[in-house]
């Protein structure tokens, strides 16, 4: 097939991407179809079925939904054909929204993978979605922290450290209140949360002072915050938490079902039967979106992130906007850390954030610096993380080390630019100097 440059130009223009990327997209789509055929479809025996359980184990009140039973081999052949067809379409005509098409392909590929992995067995889909959401929450909070900071052009590499600090502070203070002062858990946990937020605010303020006031390179300032947090929390954890176990036991928040909504089949219990911190995340997403795009502060934040001098000439205090946003960003990151404790495991371990802050930054980029985009990206990472644990249980013939790599591999692939160019705020990372 000989294709003149103008054809590529046309296909690329339709999707709003560069000609090379348009072609790469098409090849990736076809490749996905080919992989489904080679890896999965040929391995499926005739007559085998894959069962997807759509009921969430814990919720007795939910109306039961029948399991989804698919014939393995025909499903896989159909998925391979659909992928190949979409690839051919992209090469010949071009999609108007190539990134959406890419998302669909990814979804189809994962569907194929699950169908293959659960052949001859049953797979609890709802349970995995629930686990995916819980794993996505800290990533989403990290990403949201990144959005809040970078929208006013301060890069926050220190999210990981801020989360760690938040987690540690929440553990120590909530345990202290619960086990030594004898507070009831409904008081000790909010106390721990508030202390974590205060600690996060201080970490954010520290970054703001370094980046805005002293104009330190923001990557280095953030890295310093990470190293500082790892050092302090590890030291205090070894010195205090290791010796006084009652200081490392906060208890965890229990799920609170939202009336009516949690009865929605399949997704109801996943979304609406969670603990209060998850609902807090939903609220924060909505609030951040509204503030960013529909209020005075948001407009000024975005202007400062794109063209600080323009904002300055209009009498907007660039430094103040950055101080406030980065401090709030620190609090949101610390909330992510507190979630790991109060909303998840109830005790602190050294380095327990395990890169979630960095994955959050990837989610922020993937989500194009939009709150809900970042949340969606965080869900994908959470899904990859949950998938790897489920697959280990299904005894898939893939070494567990590779499964553990899944979320990180996903991060690398996404950041390496499979998805269309993400345009950061124009002034991102640049200190502002008055003339």
């Amino acid at each position: 097939m000989s294709v003149s440059p103008s054809t590529w130009e046309r296909i690329a223009a339709r999707g709003g991407i560069s000609p090379r990327k348009a072609r790469t997209h098409g090849l990736i789509f076809i490749g996905a179809g080919l992989l489904i055929y080679l890896l999965f479809a040929r391995a499926a025996a005739i007559g085998e079925t894959s069962t997807f359980v759509l009921n969430f184990g814990g919720a007795a009140e939910t109306a039961p939904v029948p399991d989804l039973v698919l014939p393995t081999a025909p499903t896989l052949y159909a998925l391979a054909l659909v992928c190949a067809f979409l690839g051919g379409w992209q090469l010949a005509r071009g999609f108007r929204r190539p990134n959406l098409a890419l998302g669909v392909i990814t979804g189809l590929f994962i569907w194929a993978f699950l169908t293959w992995a659960s052949r001859g067995q049953s797979f609890n889909l709802t349970g995995m979605l629930n686990s995916a959401l819980l794993r996505a929450v800290p990533i989403a909070l990290a990403a949201l922290s990144g959005v809040i900071c970078e929208r006013c052009a301060v890069i926050n590499i220190g999210i990981e450290g801020m989360m760690l600090t938040g987690a540690f502070t929440a553990t120590l203070t909530a345990s202290l209140a619960l086990n030594l002062w004898g507070w009831p858990s409904w008081a000790s946990m909010p106390f721990g949360l508030i202390c974590a937020l205060v600690a996060g605010a201080w970490m954010g303020l520290l970054l703001a002072i370094l980046a805005v006031r002293f104009k330190v390179n923001q990557i280095i300032a953030g890295t310093a915050i990470n190293i500082l947090s790892v050092g302090i929390t590890s030291f205090l954890s070894a010195r205090i938490l290791a010796h006084f176990q009652q200081l490392n036991n906060t208890g965890t928040l229990q799920p609170v079902p939202i009336p009516l909504l949690y009865r929605i089949p399949v997704i109801g219990p996943v979304i609406f039967e969670q603990n209060l911190l998850v609902y807090l995340l939903y609220i924060l997403l909505v609030v951040t979106h509204i503030v960013l795009f529909h209020t005075r502060w948001g407009l000024r934040t975005r202007a400062v992130g794109e063209h600080p001098r323009a904002a300055d000439t209009l009498g907007i205090n660039v430094f103040r906007v950055r101080y406030v946003n980065v401090t709030i960003g620190g609090m949101v990151a610390a909330l992510g850390g507190a979630f790991l404790i109060l909303g998840s495991v109830g005790r602190f371990d050294e380095l327990m954030t395990a890169g979630k802050g960095f994955i959050g930054l990837a989610a922020m980029i993937f989500g194009k610096w939009m709150p809900f985009g970042a949340f969606g990206a965080a869900l994908i990472f959470g899904f990859a993380d949950a998938l790897q644990t489920k697959l280990a249980i299904l005894e898939v013939p893939i070494p567990s080390q590779f499964l553990l790599m899944a979320p990180y591999l996903m991060t690398i692939i996404i950041l390496a630019g499979v998805v269309g160019e993400a345009v950061p705020p124009a002034a991102d990372g640049q200190p502002y100097e008055k003339q």
Binding site: E9, H294, T295, R296, L299, A311, T313, L314, Q435
Partner: protein, 517 residues
Amino acid sequence: MPPVLELRGITKAFPGVLANDHIHLTLEEGEVHALLGENGAGKTTLMNILYGLYSPDEGEIFIRGRRVEIREPGDAIALGIGMVHQHFMLVPVLTVTENVMLGVESVKHGFFLDRTSAARRIREISRQYGLQIDPDALVKTLPVGVQQRVEIIKLLYRQADILIMDEPTAVLTPQEVEELFKVIRSLADQGKSIIFITHKLKEVMAIADRITVLRNGRVVGTTTPSQTTEEQLASMMVGREVLLRVNKKPANPGETVLEVQNLEVLDDRGNLAVRGVSFEVRAGEVLGIAGVQGNGQTELVQALTGLRPLLGGRVRILGGEVTSAPPRRILERGVAHVPEDRQRDGLVLSFPVADNLVLNTYYLPPFARAGTLQQEVILTTAEQRAREFDIRTPSILTPVAHLSGGNQQKVIIAREFSRPIRLLIAAQPTRGLDVGSIEYIHQRILAKRDEGCAVLLVSPELDEVMSLSDRIAVMYEGRLMDILPADQATREEIGLLMAGVKKSENHKDTKTQRGIN
């Protein structure tokens, strides 16, 4: 009645320079007051003081007879002072409405942005002053002339009645300049007072009610267009007699030196920036490429000098194929390049003048022997060239970063002209230079032409292209709209071509379009 604005004895010193030296200036109501001066004369410093971006060391500011302190832009805005900056202060990814309301946002329910009422007020302003605008458009999608309108509306929205315009015509096509002048007139007629900063004499004569000339931070004089001439203003600006018109002999074109066929080049974002450009330049002639900045000129020049890969087409120099050749092979065929951004592409700023003078020949004898630099030869050559090209520098060992723009450009000219060259590619050779340096560089370029060198001149300054070129090509959206003989071309015709308008649509254009659909 006291004047709208009065500056008394404004003084501002920067380390090593007295940027403003006891400046007095008055602005009457409804007046267009031009502030004329070369780069570095102190115009922008003065206006930044007035706008609260700098604080003066000495002096007082009076608004309608009342003494005021302006510490930050917010103060200036509150006093009714507005500024259209030379580099637009617009956020490209926001809409017109958002840009205009930024800083004085109207809100409903005390919290949410009220874009609707802001857009309504923008439409009112747009009607009142004849400034056509779509409030919902994203600023990045607007042409430069319209973006400038947004800047003006921004000031009117804040009810500014003293408008400062810093070099507002630098980025406009001739038609857009005319449009702007109409707007300025209408603003002045409705009682706004305008300070118009520029270094272009023609514009001053066309638009100003009064003219104040600055030189080296001092007021040289104040006059009106009817009492003066362009020549007088020029000598006031420079402090000596200057030749405004370039005297050139008729061209004597010889063999074809540069031959470009169907050149296609991508820009940094992977979009087609040069779309099938063909032309040739002959020995002893200047081909000027006119066009508003950002229409593919940069990519064209980079492709010709080997700095950017070609997507398609051929380039031949003196009959030899140099398509996709590395820069050094192109240089060695006798091509000199005066780059558009001299500080980024033309010089190594932290290197001394002497080293910058041999950046393209350092590896050849006599500057290098057996792989070793011959410092003594380099230094003596540099001394000699600094004298010959009148490079004003404390020493040839001074880092070139410390030189003025004009002298930096002379270093490049000296380096490029001091070897046998057959083709000169000069991109914006006088960008940001003062009248004196411009005169010098124009003469040097014409001298090269008369020696039989082929010259490709790329410049967004229409006056420069028209006065130096023998033939003029106009570039628009990556295509050459037309190539005209310079003596037959009119400003109007070229201005229309620069805006993409052609009297009879070219047959070839419609054909390529059909190919795309």
